[in-house]
């Protein structure tokens, strides 16, 4: 097990360098001069632009820029944004906010989604099942910004239940509703996934055996049905954790949350190489760790899956 985890962690290294090099190149290859664009139509003298480019190493060849960035990260220096502030500060500011938002969304969709899905699956064809299927279909088909705006308008503007936007601190309580909005689509998917899986397992041989052994219904559902039905759901949640952590540009925009999504979006628009690549580097690591976690969870859920030493 330990060896397996170690091997997986070692795999991070080439992926990290490959991904960052590629992203850095893509940002670098974007046509146009980001420094000139900072000033719009204003007639800033070329000498001033030159000096600013030199500040951000933009006057150097691509590979030198990349190597300078790599060199920097070993001492915790992720380079500078075009505002002249350390990218490290931006990372430290944005990721905790997005992490809180992602945890809220994940817990919400995991707990509520599995609960509803399980119940619907056990009562396949009954009223609750039909309603759950209908509502989840609704959530899947309505784009997230529609849900976001509706929640913001009614709960925030009309009824005054919540603050319309999130403050800079982005506390847990402030992020609760945005997190629920963010989770809406995934929640619906999990309901359907769990329901389908549970409904299928209900008719499986091992469930019939368990029932025939005279096990209590609660134990049958918990240990035999639910546990076996969770494998696809966990896969989904794992992938979702990755995408939640890399930010939610739309939800962040609606509620004015200053998280990862908006920061990266803006950095891409401004052609800010060091910012984009630093954020992406962290995202890559988060994504791979989330995947590793999912793979390990498989083993817990299904004893047949054992990782070689």
């Amino acid at each position: 097990m330990i060896a397996y985890i170690g091997r997986r962690l070692l795999q991070l290294i080439p992926v990290f360098f490959g991904a960052t090099l590629l992203i850095y190149f893509l940002v670098f290859a974007m046509p146009g001069d980001p420094i000139k664009a900072l000033f719009g139509d204003k007639p800033v003298p070329e000498s001033t632009l030159e000096a600013i480019r030199a500040q951000y190493n933009l006057d150097k060849p691509f590979i030198v820029q990349y190597l300078l960035w790599i060199k920097g990260i070993f001492v915790g220096d992720f380079g500078l944004t075009y505002s002249g502030r350390p990218v490290a500060d931006e990372l430290a500011r944005a990721f905790p906010i997005t992490a809180r938002l992602a945890v809220i969304a994940l817990v919400f969709e995991g707990v509520v989604g599995i609960a509803i899905g399980l119940y619907a699956g056990l009562r396949k064809g009954k009223l609750f099942d039909s309603v759950a299927l209908f509502i989840s279909l609704l959530f899947i088909s309505v784009p997230i910004f529609v849900i976001g705006f509706l929640v913001q308008y009614f709960a925030g503007v009309q009824w005054g239940w919540i603050k319309t936007t999130v403050s800079g601190q982005a506390t847990w309580s402030e992020l609760l509703v945005p997190g629920m909005v963010l989770a809406a689509t995934s929640l619906a998917n999990i309901v359907r996934l769990t329901r389908g899986s549970v409904a299928e397992n209900m008719g499986a041989d091992f469930v019939r055996t368990a029932k025939a052994k005279g096990l209590r219904r609660g134990r049958v559902v918990r240990v035999h049905i639910l546990r076996n039905s969770l494998i696809p759901v966990v896969t989904y949640l794992g992938a979702d954790l990755g995408s939640l952590m890399v930010g939610a540009v739309i939800t962040e925009g609606i509620f004015n949350i200053k998280g990862v999504g908006g920061t990266v979006f803006q950095a891409v628009q401004r052609g800010e190489g060091p910012t984009v690549v630093s954020f992406v580097a962290v995202m890559v690591i988060v994504f791979m760790l989330a995947n590793l976690l999912v793979d390990l969870l498989y083993a817990v859920l299904d004893p047949r899956i054992r990782y070689a030493k």
């Binding site: 007639p43 800033v44 000498s47 030159e50 505002s83 502030r85 603050k163 319309t164 800079g168 925009g253």
Partner: protein, 552 residues
């Protein structure tokens, strides 16, 4: 039946979540209020803090390096220059007692008010101005606004030859100094109203970057405390009781919250979390006037929008054919209909090359008929041009897709295509910087969108940087000795009226040559909440925050 009850139980999780939130929301709202009421002391005017929208400054707040709106809004509130502008854009003395030119508008004598102070207690003297201007102009400091000093004697844009002290700035006494200009400039007093011309305290020069994080100014407001600027979040400014100038604050301060998306700001304004919003998002153009009845504004701003037809474009080169075609294109565009259909009336059709908020603006300049819609005349002119040389290409207007231009470009090219019977279409560039790159290298294969937002309220500022031969933002590569001459004469004119007359003559040349096709002036669309009164927007589309009052 049983199923139903359980279904309700499951759904109640949502409800419980919302209730918990209600409590939190209410609590933090209250604490916010009490903290703002407790700060500072005041007499007749209210102490309440005005909340408003903004955006994260691109750079530390160093006035000579602040060329964008996010930082500009803050810098204008915490610094005061020699002059400031009233709502109509007229010059009023701020830190200066008087500013007088010599006969040729080349040597200006500035006298300061006495007893001026920065918020750290140090005095504002001639040196505070001279040193700050020299710092901003020095090319070695790579300040974004350095070119604003390019008319002061001794200025150099040559990086190999940086000038630390311009010979044009001479101290006479602690409250008096002179400025010698390279070229005559009739509206010099307007230029120095720009943010880059404010004074800096001695402490700034030791570590400019650190200063920019916690700037010390001399304006109507000051930072609430060290670190008041929380990056990406906002900044809280409080009234500066020591301020002596024309913009004394009638409220306790201004709290600026940074929004990445204006729709979020609009929602905050609707729920009274935000007192003043100076940019209504496009999606609310149809309903903001009813959402904020009697508490909104829709007036022209100092923003001019156009598309440029470069001089090097085939069939549009200087000469008879180009002149005919330019006028035909301009007259084939139904500006009023596009404004109504695409912008919901939040633009004002252009009548010249400046803006209605600028002194000297006129909608009756000779030749301005070229800017009104007339399909028959347009068709006739186009046919005349075709007689000289046949046009069989496609007329394109290039735009950056990240700037929300697609709709009006489509409307304008449709208008051109329909009324002239030619092929016309938009050409999208993914981002502004890519468009700018091609413009810079003279690689445009058609027209391209252009625009200008004035830095200070002067006609000259709308004309010289864009159409003067070789000017930095003259991407159409327009050149006209007649136009250049009139600009020069206007700049050297004895009185403001004479200057205005010359600049209007210069515009007549432009109306004939049409280096760009004027489209419309952007409007400022702002709204404000129930708690505030006396909200007025300045010439530069920024609310005059110091005049706003708020009940406590």
């Amino acid at each position: 039946m049983k199923t139903n009850r359980k279904a309700l139980a499951a759904l109640s999780i949502f409800a419980a979540g919302s209730l918990a939130l209600t409590a939190c929301g209410g609590g933090s709202g209250d604490s916010g209020k009490s903290s703002s009421a407790g700060s500072e002391s005041g007499a007749a005017t209210s102490n309440a803090i005005i909340t408003t929208n903004g955006s994260e400054p691109q750079n530390p707040i160093i006035p000579t390096n602040t060329t964008e709106v996010g930082g500009g809004k803050i810098a204008d509130l915490i610094f005061a220059g020699l002059v400031s502008f009233d709502a109509k854009g007229a010059v009023q003395m701020d830190q200066a007692e008087s500013i007088t030119p010599n006969d040729t508008n080349t040597l200006w004598t500035v006298k300061l008010k006495s007893g001026l102070k920065f918020t750290d207690g140090t005095p504002v003297t001639s040196d505070s101005f001279i040193k700050a201007w020299n710092y901003g102009a020095n090319i070695a400091n790579a300040q974004g606004a350095s070119y604003f000093f390019d008319n002061i004697k001794g200025y150099s844009a040559d990086e190999k030859n940086p000038v630390a002290e311009m010979e044009g700035l001479k101290k006479v006494s602690d409250t008096e100094f002179t400025v010698e200009l390279i070229n005559a400039e009739a509206d010099f007093t307007k230029r120095i109203g720009y943010t880059a011309f404010v004074p800096l305290p001695e402490s700034a020069f030791a570590d400019m970057k650190a200063f920019g994080e916690n700037p010390v100014g001399n304006g109507p407001y000051k930072f609430e405390k060290t670190g008041a600027w929380v990056h990406n979040e906002g900044v809280t400014l409080v009234k500066n009781a020591d301020y002596q100038g024309s913009r004394t604050a009638k409220n306790g301060g201004v709290k600026i919250t940074f929004y990445a998306d204006q729709t979020a700001a609009y929602a905050d304004a609707q729920s009274d979390e935000l007192d003043v919003l100076d940019a209504v998002p496009d999606s609310n153009f149809t309903n903001y006037e009813s959402d904020f009845e009697g508490r909104s504004v829709n007036q022209p701003a100092a923003i001019f929008q156009s598309f440029t037809i470069p001089q090097y474009l085939e069939h549009f080169k200087p000469g008879k054919e180009g002149e005919l075609r330019r006028k035909a294109i301009s007259m084939s565009i139904d500006r009023e209909s596009i404004i109504k259909a695409v912008f919901n009336g939040t633009r004002t059709a252009a009548k010249d090359f400046t803006s209605p908020v600028i002194e000297g603006w006129s909608d009756k300049l000779e030749g301005s008929d070229a800017l009104s819609f007339n399909a028959d005349e347009a068709k006739k002119l186009w046919a005349e041009a075709d007689a000289i040389s046949k046009y069989d290409g496609t007329f394109t207007i290039a735009y950056n897709a990240d700037g929300g231009h697609a709709n009006w470009v489509t409307a304008a090219t449709n208008s051109i295509a329909k009324n002239l019977g030619i092929k016309a279409e938009g050409k999208a560039y993914p981002a502004f910087k890519q468009l700018l790159d091609d413009e810079d290298k003279d690689k445009m294969t058609g027209a391209f969108r252009s625009g200008w937002q004035a830095d200070y309220p002067s006609m000259y500022n709308f004309l010289a940087p864009l159409y003067q031969t070789g000017a930095g933002s003259n991407y159409g590569r327009y050149t006209s000795t007649e136009f250049d001459g009139l600009l020069k004469e206007g700049a050297a004119a004895k009185s403001e009226a004479d200057a205005t007359a010359k600049f209007q003559d210069a515009q007549k040349v432009l109306l004939k040559d049409l280096p760009v096709v004027p489209l419309w002036y952007s409007n400022v669309n702002g709204v404000w909440g129930n708690k505030v009164q006396n909200v007025e927007f300045g010439w530069n589309s920024v609310p005059l925050y110091y005049n706003i009052t708020k009940a406590e």
